[in-house]
Amino acid sequence: MRVYMREFKVVSKREREIINITDRVRELIKESGIKEGLALVFSKHTTTGIFINENERGLERDVINYFNEAVRDDGDYFHHHYFYKDGRMAVNAWAHLRSILVGLNVVIPLRDGELLLGSRENVYLAEFDGPKERTLVITVLGE
């Protein structure tokens, strides 16, 4: 079995945004040369999420609106204190909580070197604390 692993960057432009990364994932699958197997797409940031859903503009807005309502910005969060490890205040508990709800990775099967996605399915990065440059990791396992 072959293993292909690579980090890649995605730059968000909004504070809260979902970004369709399907084409970038397809390019990397092609680059891997692996035809049959699994692709794992993973985000290295705990204020982001990775998910698969339908590519539709209205739904993309609904996703952001849903998370804004599901996790309040102005909650009484223990996280909002000085964070010595970073040398700055931690002020984004809501972004971490939204990230937990979404999850940080997806696994997609591969067949004939292509992502075996349904016709409506796309791979998204959810940005909950942007705009920022984010590092994602793709790992492809197979032959």
Partner: protein, 282 residues
């Protein structure tokens, strides 16, 4: 309403190499990875910030580094002249003539003010050499922004962070515009006292110290200091700043807008007072 952000540290990946990142961690106390300039610009756009004041920090005497250097600030301003105003930094204990250093490293680079942080840079703000520097700034009509308030980093002097120090400076140099950062927190009323009795002293409200930006600015501008006091006494004194990258710009702008100040006071804080200090009022 467009916003002026008076307190941005351009610690972007384009200028923070490995050595500077070490300095950022060990001297500036910030341990998050630098982001590209592109995301700083996006944060400004997201928060309707039309202009940002980029601050250099000369740590050359203490640690032989700058975060970033005057040249680096100038190069970013040159690339985006409508977006940024640059402030240089000069450690007062540097060897040589302060007048010549200011001309070479600030005036000639098109920088329009000076940033000092006596605590991080490690100098006595009332030393003879520092007083000479303020005199030169007054002569050149260059505004000064200084760190006041808590420094979390334990290796730095807390004594040099106290706002009352600047009353002495403001009275000696009445034509030098001085911005006290962070509203001097936790010595907020000391900072206010200095600003109230000196026409040349202003206060920036950058960063958050007591919780989220929403919690902090609401506490600062409606509880610790009554809202009526902010609106009646400090309406021409307070300017907006974020302290990026120690905090994201959209969070700070949203927090200020959420305080519930009268619209004209909000506009003064978010824009007009800063333009007056810069001499750019319309």
């Amino acid at each position: 309403m467009p916003v002026v952000d008076f307190h941005i540290h351009p610690l972007v990946s384009e200028v923070i190499d490995e050595d500077k990142y070490k300095c950022q961690r060990e001297v500036f106390g910030l341990r998050t990875s630098p982001q590209p300039l592109e995301t700083l610009l996006s944060q400004m756009q997201e928060a309707s910030v039309e202009r940002g004041v980029l601050l250099a920090l000369d740590c050359s005497v203490k640690a032989n580094c700058s975060l970033p250097s005057n040249e680096e600030v100038a190069s970013i301003v040159k690339k985006y002249p409508s977006k940024f105003v640059g402030f240089g930094s000069l450690h007062p204990y540097r060897e040589g003539s302060l007048r010549e250093l200011l001309e070479e490293e600030v005036i000639n680079l098109g920088l329009r003010g000076l940033k000092l942080n006596p605590s991080i840079q490690d100098f006595d703000p009332l030393s003879q050499r520092a007083l000479q520097l303020y005199g030169e700034l007054e002569r050149l009509n260059l505004p000064l922004i200084v760190h006041t308030g808590l420094s979390w980093f334990p290796s730095t002097s807390l004594e040099y962070c106290k706002p009352l120090i600047w009353d002495n400076v403001a009275r000696r140099f009445p034509n030098l515009k001085i911005v006290l950062s962070h509203l001097g927190w936790p010595w907020v009323w000391d900072a206010i006292a200095v600003a109230l009795r000196n026409d040349n002293v202003f206060l920036d409200i950058s960063n958050t110290f007591t919780g989220s930006p929403n919690e902090h600015l609401r506490y600062l501008l409606t509880e610790l200091v009554p809202k009526r006091f902010v609106e009646r006494f400090l309406n021409e004194k307070i300017i907006f700043g974020s302290d990026y990258p120690r905090i994201e710009i959209p969070k700070m702008v949203r927090a200020l807008r959420g305080v519930g100040l009268k619209e004209e006071i909000e506009e003064a804080i978010l824009r007009l007072n800063a333009l007056k200090i810069l001499g750019d009022e319309e």
